[in-house]
Amino acid sequence: MTASDFDWKPLALVPLLALVTLPLVGSPSTWLTLTVAGLAMGMIIFIIASGLTLVFGLMDVLNFGHGVFIALGAFVATSVLGAMGDWTGSAELWRNMVAVLPAMLVAMAVAGAVGLAFERFIVRPVYGQHLKQILITMGGMIIGEELIKVIWGPQQIPLPLPEGMRGSLLLGDAAIEKYRLVAVAVGLVVFGVLAWTLSRTKVGLLIRAGVQDREMVESLGYRIRRLFVAVFVVGSALAGLGGVMWGLYQQNVVPQMGAQVNVLIFIVIIIGGLGSTGGALIGALLVGLMANYTGFLVPKVALFSNIALMVAILLWRPQGVYPVTNR
């Protein structure tokens, strides 16, 4: 695709939203702090939502149980990081990263493995039946939450940031939390890997084609269900990674955290256009920024701001900013 073919308007919404709020916030340093916080939150939501949007786009599956992988990832991280106290307690960033990286990898592995079982036993029997998908995947999430309570207990568990990721960097008068920069960096890496895989590999090509017309992909000789299982597992693993990031962002985890984030990720994939990874990134950044700006400017409407954002986007583009399926 050439640059002239690319639809820039949705991408322009992100800087536009940031610029519009600058005079409303008033102080440039406060605005910068809010913007970085919004981008960090957006990137974490994108990590979680990217797999879900592909799952919907590929197989028309509404997985309302996606949140359980978020909670699972976060709880796994409490165990892994809890066992690496010497490393997380160090003020040296590289030692912190040595602890956080295995926590992320183990969380992804566990969430991916549970995702494989979730697809096989919960999602597969209800292909093509939307109402049953909603009911059974929500039921799966409730069971998952209860199992988390059995393993880790029902109480809130603290997930403190490693020592080296605490505190802020000063940029002029603006205080930028170090962890938010880490979240932005991890989100960019995930987006880069996803974008490269989707645009530069044959598997990525198959996923993009499958999102548009899975029957034609099968007619070309490819087993779309195998591809779907792989995408489901990767999507679950990414939700697990997002759970680690979200848990560290909130600095505590509860078994219901997945259900709490679920609403945001569904807003994101609807804004983005069901099945669109690029759209999910735009949607996540808009949601992250909107939550932070309205939380500062008009806290009473912060809860509804993202729903208002979704409504406004859908009035402009009823199938989301980058629609790729006709469903």
């Binding site: 073919d5 090509l205 084609a209 034609m216 099968e218 000789g221």
Partner: protein, 243 residues
């Protein structure tokens, strides 16, 4: 047991779609190395027959043999894997992918564009110049005729034993239809077996070796295209028109 002279044979094929009984015992033989036209009025069951062959809808009764092998219960990817290419009525173009990416998907042996058979690609470019011209353009932005060329080019990007195309001339301008006829003529000469569903009688007359006419979910006539073209009374009774 299927005949070795026929590449594809359908015997007594019934297809139900939900509560609807669409095919009522289709018998159809596609001879190897020839171009067979499947004709019939709208709603006769032509597209359903093609989709049933491809496994997109399962036959509820009867058998389908390809190269002597029973493929009735195989899934679509398995059927396509037997070297059968299919171009559906809506062309099945991936609109958000470039023309190159559309063709790369069908080149199962290639993992990137550089691994596609260069000589075959040049042959395709000669058949369909639009494919080369719009190589890096999103396929969704092409005209209807250009999309049809991409769809057929994609189907033949690797050598196939059977090419199944549903209404290749549908909605195309006369000049594009002539290009398409020339392309299918060359494909015929390359030895590939072709099954075409058509509504355009001139297209059918110029290309067909054999013809099968469907009505109400059954094949009501099968024979040579030349014989049908020469028998005006038969055309009137089968199709309600004259070739």
């Amino acid at each position: 047991m299927s005949s070795t002279a026929n590449l594809l044979e359908l015997k007594g094929v019934h297809t139900h779609i939900g509560a609807y009984h669409i095919l009522h015992g289709v018998d159809l033989a596609i001879p190897k190395g020839q171009l067979t036209m499947l004709l019939g009025r709208n709603g006769a069951g032509k597209t359903t027959t093609l989709r049933t062959i491809m496994g997109l809808w399962q036959a509820s009764q009867g058998s389908i043999h390809f190269n002597g092998r029973d493929i009735t219960r195989l899934h679509t990817p398995q059927i396509a894997g037997l070297n059968i290419a299919y171009v559906p009525e809506n062309m099945g173009i991936f609109a958000d992918l470039t023309v190159k990416e559309n063709l790369l998907l069908a080149a199962r042996k290639a993992s990137n564009a550089a691994q596609m058979d260069a000589a075959r690609l040049q042959w395709i470019f000669r058949l369909f110049p639009a494919v080369e011209k719009f190589w890096n353009h999103p396929a969704g932005k092409l005209s209807g005729g250009q999309k049809q060329m991409v769809a057929v080019a994609r189907a033949i990007i690797e050598p196939r034993d059977l090419l199944i195309v549903d209404e290749p001339s549908k909605g195309l301008a006369p000049a594009i239809i002539n290009n398409m006829i020339e392309a299918f003529d060359q494909l015929k000469k390359s030895g590939v077996t072709i099954l075409l569903v058509e509504q355009n009688i001139h297209f059918a007359k110029r290309l067909g070796d054999n013809v099968a006419v469907m009505d109400n979910g059954r094949v009501v006539h099968a024979g040579s295209m030349a014989a049908l073209a020469a028998d005006e009374a038969l055309q009137q009774s089968l199709l309600g028109l004259s070739l």
